[in-house]
Every structure is written in structure tokens, then in C-alpha cells.
């Protein structure tokens, strides 16, 4: 059985549960797959949903600043549960999605046709063409470990996938140790970094042997505004250059990772 797993633990800034339900509705529509949301009672707030729910205990990875171009206000970030995916997923083949991944096509179905046991996104592009993700090519300047994105993970029931999530858990529990080895910040805990180290390790410490998702993920930075034209079509607004020239682009039938949680909220709350 195929399905999608989404984590959603609210903080005082973002209603991740509502965001996850919006994302899950789109998965149902475009992929025709069941979705399980891993969350807690505090996040659900007695709301009903048609999607399956698994109750877990929120694990914090520290504080994060959500939109540094607007404010330095930070909030607690409950992002530390992803290592549970192998144990929690009710599916034989699972895609773990960030709730801010905007599904607008059936592209992800391709992953279920592969015999790869566990994989993630490595190659991304900035949909606005401003190349805002160049610094994300490696997780460490000095150690050269590739940056893999936890935004979309695929795994099947296999020893390798189980080892991968076991490794993620170990990295999370010993995060300062790994941050010393790979020279990245100790806080907040980053799933991207745990995924990068775990994937590289389970595939034999050889970055070239990691079978990554074979297309580039469209990423949209957190300073970009979002307007829904219809279910399939979005307008992205941003500025370029020192004179901050306002520009826009339209996407249609295209999946993208949208990092401006506040603008995403305007859409799913309407």
C-alpha cells in the first residue's frame, strides 16, 4: 500500500495542523493517495479531518526565525519527530512530505515506481531565478557533505530504510557531536542535516552512491508572496536587485516547496 506521511505540531506562530490538512487535501486530489498526519491533541484542537491521524509527542528542535527579511521574531520549532517515520507509517511505500510542500501535479507518483529503498531531494532550484539556494549545496563548508532536503523523503519497507531512520534518531540524540564533526550550528536541530548525514552513511559514506530523487525541487524562499489564482495556479511575487524591482511569476500544475508560512496561511485559511 502506498501513502503519504505529514508531521504537524503547532506553535504559537503557525497552525501546522491546518497547513498539513491543506497539504493532505492536495495529495488526495493530485496523487489519489491516503495521507496520515502525525500530530498531537494540542495541535488538533478538537478539529475534524478526513485524513488518518497518529498522535505522537511533539519533539522540539529548538527555536527558529520564520521570516528573517521581515522580523527576527523566533518561535519554538517542533521538527524532531521525523525519525519516527519508519515505525509510524502504515504504508509499504511512503513519501514523507513537509506540510509547506505545495502539491499541484502527480509528479511524486513516479517515486513509487522505483525500487530504491530510501531517497531524498538533493538538487533544488530557486523558482524566482534569484539563486537564493546556492548556500544550501553542502551542509558544511569544510567537510563538503552534500545538502539533502528532508522536504520530500521516500522509503519502502526495507532494512536500509530502517537503518536510515535509526541513524536519523542517533544523529538527533547526539546532534552536538555531529555538529562538531561536520561544523554546522548546534541549534536548531535541522532535519536536512540529519537526513544528509544519515543518507550518506547508509549508502556507504560515498556521496556519489546516494540515489537521489532525479529531478530538481522547485524552492521558493521565505520573502516571496503567494496568491492562489485557482487550485492549480499560483502567482509568486518578489523583488530583485538593489532597487527592489517588484516581479512576479505564475506557476501552473507545478509542485513547489513554499517557505513563507505566513503567506501560505492566507491561502489555506480562505
Amino acid at each position: 500500500m502506498k501513502g503519504v506521511l505529514i508531521y504537524a505540531f503547532n506553535n504559537s506562530s503557525i497552525d501546522y495542523f491546518r497547513q498539513a490538512v491543506w497539504c493532505a487535501d492536495r495529495v488526495n486530489r493530485y496523487l489519489d493517495l491516503p495521507v496520515t498526519i502525525v500530530t498531537d491533541e494540542l495541535s488538533i484542537k478538537n478539529r475534524k479531518t478526513t485524513h488518518s491521524i497518529i498522535i505522537s509527542v511533539a519533539s522540539s528542535g529548538g527555536h527558529r526565525v520564520y521570516n528573517p527579511s521581515v522580523s527576527n521574531k523566533s518561535d519554538i520549532w517542533y521538527n524532531g519527530n521525523r525519525f519516527q517515520s519508519y515505525d509510524l507509517s502504515p504504508y509499504e511505500q511512503t513519501i514523507v512530505l513537509d506540510s509547506d510542500y505545495v502539491v499541484s501535479s502527480d509528479q511524486l507518483l513516479t517515486l513509487y515506481d522505483t525500487s530504491i529503498q530510501v531517497t531524498a531531494m538533493k538538487n533544488v532550484y530557486d523558482i524566482t531565478g534569484r539563486d537564493g539556494f546556492t548556500p544550501y549545496r553542502s551542509i558544511s563548508d569544510s567537510r563538503g557533505l552534500h545538502h539533502y532536503w528532508a522536504t520530500v523523503l521516500y522509503f519502502n519497507r526495507s532494512q536500509l530504510a530502517q537503518d536510515f531512520f535509526f541513524m536519523m534518531d542517533m544523529i538527533k540524540k547526539n546532534y552536538s557531536h555531529y555538529s562538531n564533526i561536520y561544523r554546522f550550528r548546534t541549534t536548531p536541530f535541522r532535519n536536512d542535516f540529519a537526513v544528509s548525514i544519515a543518507l550518506t552513511t547508509v549508502y556507504g559514506h560515498s556521496p556519489d552512491s546516494v540515489p537521489v530523487i532525479p529531478w530538481r525541487m522547485a524552492n521558493v524562499f521565505n520573502d516571496v508572496g503567494l496568491t492562489a489564482i485557482d487550485d492549480d495556479t499560483f502567482e509568486l511575487a518578489y523583488t530583485t536587485g538593489v532597487d527592489k524591482m517588484p516581479k512576479k511569476i505564475i506557476t501552473n500544475g507545478q509542485d513547489f516547496h513554499f517557505m513563507n508560512k505566513f503567506d501560505l496561511a492566507k491561502i489555506y485559511e480562505n
Binding site: 501535479s105 513509487y112 515506481d113 532525479p214 530538481r216 511575487a237 517588484p246 512576479k248 511569476i249 505564475i250
Partner: protein
Amino acid sequence: MSDIVTRIRTRFDHAAAKKSLKEKYESKMIFGCNGGLFKSTPEMITFLNLYNNEDIVLLDLYDTPIKVNAADLKDEMQKRWYEQMNAWLVEWTELQKQR
């Protein structure tokens, strides 16, 4: 008021749109067959024309050898190529009208 001014000044980013369309439609050329992932390209379609309805072994995008029926794979690649390239053209033509 400032929102209105910004909207009027906002220009459609044709360069970014062109790049984004290329990424989108190239990704839609990828599909699964017999446990492997393949990408529809003119080179692959031409190569598969060398074979009839026979089983051959090809390396997929992960460099894994996969046994495929050449005719079936060619049909799928051609179908995908025509559909996606035509959709790409339609969308590109539409976006060129944006200001």
C-alpha cells in the same frame, strides 16, 4: 495605496518563467518502468527505434540495469515526449502574453 502602486509596477519575470518551465517539463519526462526510472529524450527514442518488440537491458537514471521491452518503452517515451512538449509550448505561448 502602496499595494496598488506595487502591483502596477510589478513586471512578469519572463527569464525566471522560462527557466522554471524547463525544469517543470524536464521533470515530467521522468517515469518508472520495471522498477527503474527513465527519462524520455529524443536520443533515447531514436536509440529504441533500433529495436523491434524485443527485451533489452538498459541502465536507468540510477545506473541500475533494467530489462525492458524496447517497443513498450519507446511507446511510453514517445507518448510522454509529445504530451509534455506540446503542453510546454502551450504554456510558454500563454506566458509570453504576460506583462
